[in-house]
């Protein structure tokens, strides 16, 4: 109302009515400092107004954007206010082909204390030691009275323990969220599944081989493994080890038509829940030995079971026929080696007989007849000259001579001088009987409709001949104890002397057996290898494959076949006899080896 004051003199109308209010305009300030100050003030007000207008305009634009234009980036800010609906476990589960849990991740909180918040360390110690009898009183007390602000009291509690600690209600004692990998089946799948270390990083097996895949996915990873078959194989291999006081054993069961590995056992094994823990029963076996996967990482001179490749090579390349004969009367002397026969017949043998009676001389002569070049090419074609490809991280490259000399050709013909992994062997053997298609072995169950790719390595005709010959080995040859009535087993025995130093040790054997059933329509392959078996009373002083792993293979097949729905057949029925008849042996009397 300053403006209305008449004594200022700027209201120049003396006749103004009393009730008349002057128009709301700024007073006319005379020149001088007051006017200057007023103008500065006005400018400031104006600028502030513009600033506000700008901010409001921004807000308005943003409102328009959020409401009319569906928010823009507004969505991305939301999740941080929310708890994810189901916090994904840090690592995917692993299950077997039937969905049975093999590895899972569980929350397992760790107990820690902040000593600065502990009001009564003595009382807290008493309570904690009562709840966890294996904690030492003095240690706990020392931790609780230390000057740090974080001390672990116990790692990885189980839910019951967590509940008990909560019941104690000690201030300053808290849980830290941690996750732990758990393997319900323990040792049974140790080498396949592997184990994880701190931070749940894969250290071995599938856990390591498919580490990034397991980290990224949420749904369980399904293996081709069948836990039931795995149990059978492990039990029977353990029995072989116990019966023949052997050092170690390895076994593989594979679907010959898809390459899926149904079971993979390597003994001795370890508990992936406590890798590194020493088994009190067998304290003499080192951890490294237990963790060693003999199926994929061990390379062995497998011995006579290699003869199936020699025969297949000779038949497929046409350098021999089933009627070809080789003189196995005398031992072969070459360089410092003497090649002789274990089950010596000392006469001329034909090809089926060479395989049946496992004649080293015959196999060596067959290989020589075919030539080193062909032999090497054939072994490369069936994947025996490179490391096997498999999902587990452990895979070893084979050992074979760089220079393929004549003596190498001869020894490789019966499986000495070349070391391969049992896995490579199984894949190659499967290709010999399944019609000639080599498929990469896999530990993952293929998705339905996903046909495993393979490549033709031998002709279907050779494959059929190999099936017949392998049946002969079990029917009349060295592998008679592998017979499982009704399941038409075919196979080949192999007993190799282990190389010790520069010589082969006669008493240190590696006995192996490859069995395929039903051989007239092959479905599954069972490969068993036992390291350094010793003869016992039941085996009449033998520790060869025919007495050790062949009977085990028979037991394995009889136990697993019903589980896999393989229908037993009458082996004496005419159609099976006809399907497995070897023409070149027609009318010949077969002698027992």
């Amino acid at each position: 109302m300053i403006a209305a004051q008449p004594h200022h003199g700027y209201d120049d109308n003396p006749c103004r009515p009393r009730h008349f209010k002057p128009p709301p305009c700024a007073p006319v300030v005379p020149e001088g400092p007051a006017r200057k100050a007023l103008e500065a003030c006005r400018t400031r007000l104006f600028l502030t107004g513009i600033l506000f207008a700008c901010v409001f305009a921004v807000v308005a634009l943003r409102v328009v954007e959020v409401v009319l234009l569906e928010g823009g980036t507004a969505q991305s800010h939301m999740p941080r206010f929310r708890i994810p609906a189901t916090p994904a476990p840090a690592r995917a589960d692993i299950v077997d082909r039937n969905g049975r849990l093999l590895a899972t991740t569980l929350d397992s909180p760790s107990l820690y204390a902040n000593p600065k918040q502990i009001l009564d360390p003595a009382d807290a110690t008493r309570k904690l030691v009562k709840a966890f009898p294996n904690l030492k009183k003095a240690e706990v007390y020392a931790k609780l009275t230390s000057s740090k602000s974080f001390v672990y009291l116990k790692r990885h509690l189980i839910p019951r323990e967590q509940y008990e600690v909560n019941q104690l209600g000690i201030p300053g004692v808290q849980f830290q969220h941690e996750e732990r990998r758990l393997y319900p089946d323990g040792t049974l799948t140790a080498h396949v599944v592997g184990y994880t270390g701190i931070d749940n990083a894969g250290f071995a097996g599938i856990e390591r081989g498919l580490d990034s895949m397991l980290r990224d996915r949420r749904e369980p990873l399904q293996l081709s493994l069948d836990l039931r078959i795995q149990y059978i194989l492990r039990e029977e291999l353990q029995r072989v080890i116990d019966d023949f006081t052997a050092k170690a054993a390895a076994g593989l069961i594979m679907d010959v038509n898809t390459g899926e590995v149904l079971s993979m056992v390597s003994l001795p094994d370890f508990d992936p829940n406590h890798p590194g823990a020493i088994d009190p029963d067998h304290a003499d076996i080192s951890i490294a030995d237990r963790m060693f996967n003999r199926d994929t990482l061990g390379v062995y001179e497998l011995g006579s079971i290699f003869k199936i490749f020699t025969v297949a090579m000779a038949l497929d390349t046409g350098t021999s026929t089933l009627a070809s004969t080789y003189d196995a009367t005398h031992d072969i002397h070459i360089g410092r080696f003497t090649i002789g026969d274990y089950h010596g017949k000392h006469r001329v043998l034909n090809v089926p007989e060479i395989l049946m009676y496992s004649s080293n001389i015959g196999a060596a002569k067959m290989a020589i007849a075919a030539g080193g070049q062909r032999q090497r090419e054939f072994l490369a074609r069936i994947g025996l000259l490179k490391a096997p490809k498999i999902e587990v991280s452990e895979a070893a490259a084979p050992h074979f001579p760089a220079k393929w000399r004549e003596v190498n050709v001869m020894t490789i013909a019966f499986g000495h001088g070349i070391s391969v992994t049992p896995l490579s062997f199984a894949s190659a053997a499967a290709a010999l009987v399944n019609g000639g298609t080599l498929r990469q072995a896999t530990l993952l169950k293929p998705l339905p409709g996903e046909a495993p790719q393979g490549q033709q390595v031998i002709s279907p005709k050779t494959s059929e001949q190999m099936r017949k010959l392998m049946r002969l080995v079990v029917e009349h040859g060295t592998g008679t104890m592998a017979a499982a009535p009704g399941y038409v087993v075919g196979g080949k025995t192999g007993t190799a002397e282990k190389l010790s130093g520069r010589h082969y040790a006669e008493k240190k054997l590696l006995s192996s057996f490859v069995g395929i059933f039903p051989i007239n329509d092959p479905k599954y392959l069972v490969l068993t290898v036992v390291d350094e078996p010793h003869p016992n009373k039941q085996s009449h002083g033998y520790a060869t494959a025919g007495w050790t792993v062949a009977p085990a293979t028979s037991r394995i097949i009889q136990r697993m076949a019903p589980l896999l729905g393989v229908q037993p057949v009458d082996e004496a029925s005419p159609e099976i006899q006809r399907a497995l008849m070897v023409e070149s042996l027609q009318g010949k009397r077969l002698e027992a080896y």
Partner: protein
């Protein structure tokens, strides 16, 4: 006029304010609810994982084998037990005679009424003398047992035909299966798995 306008705006502002706070609190409550539910889901899922791991641990093959040895003594299936498949079992033969037309069946039942405690007569040939087929042991075959629906449909027709509803309810109950089961010499059906195991153990 100005006052009215001011009032209108005031009301509008306060209404908007109230509405906004209302919605805000509603949203907050919903978010709390969501968080609670999510936490509960997570805890349930964790529990589920623990239980699954526990189940896998408790059903390890070695545990099952030990338990089998202790309680069941089951042995692996031998070749002898696998000589035939389910496909080798012949299909059930067709019923011997077509079911009699409703009127006739009703007549038979009406005739058989005195022996109502075993009303399997529906499936018996209508030509047989009343009363006798009912108690004969021979028709106690699976076909007879498997046909209660037919029996019931026949019974439903009967009262209308005979106008004697008083006698019908007795028959109308789905008793026939039980009656047949009782009269057959087969062993008692086990009520539970434990019961079955107990039976097997006593019969050994």
């Amino acid at each position: 006029m100005i006052r009215l306008g001011t009032l209108f705006w005031l009301v509008l502002v306060s209404a908007t304010g109230f509405a906004m706070f209302g919605v805000k609190y509603q949203v907050q409550a919903l978010e709390d609810d969501l968080a609670r539910t999510n936490r509960a889901t997570a805890s349930e899922e964790h529990e589920l994982r623990v239980l699954e791991a526990e189940w896998a641990y408790l059903t390890r093959p070695e545990t099952l084998e030990a338990m089998n040895r202790q309680f069941l003594s089951l042995a692996p299936i031998g070749t002898k037990q696998l000589h035939a498949t389910a496909a080798d079992i012949p299909l059930r033969p067709p019923p011997p005679a077509p079911p009699p037309p409703p009127a006739e069946a009703a007549a038979v039942i009406a005739a058989a009424e005195p022996a109502a405690e075993a009303p399997t007569a529906t499936s018996a040939p209508p030509s047989e003398p009343d009363g006798v087929p009912v108690l004969a042991p021979e028709p106690a075959t699976p076909e007879t047992v498997a046909e209660p629906p037919a029996t019931q449909s026949a019974l439903r027709v009967m009262p209308a035909l005979l106008e004697k509803p008083a006698a019908a309810p007795q028959l109308g109950k789905p008793a026939p299966v039980k009656a047949v089961a009782k009269s057959s010499p087969a062993p008692r059906r086990a009520k539970s798995l434990d019961d079955l195991i107990a039976q097997i153990m006593t019969s050994r």
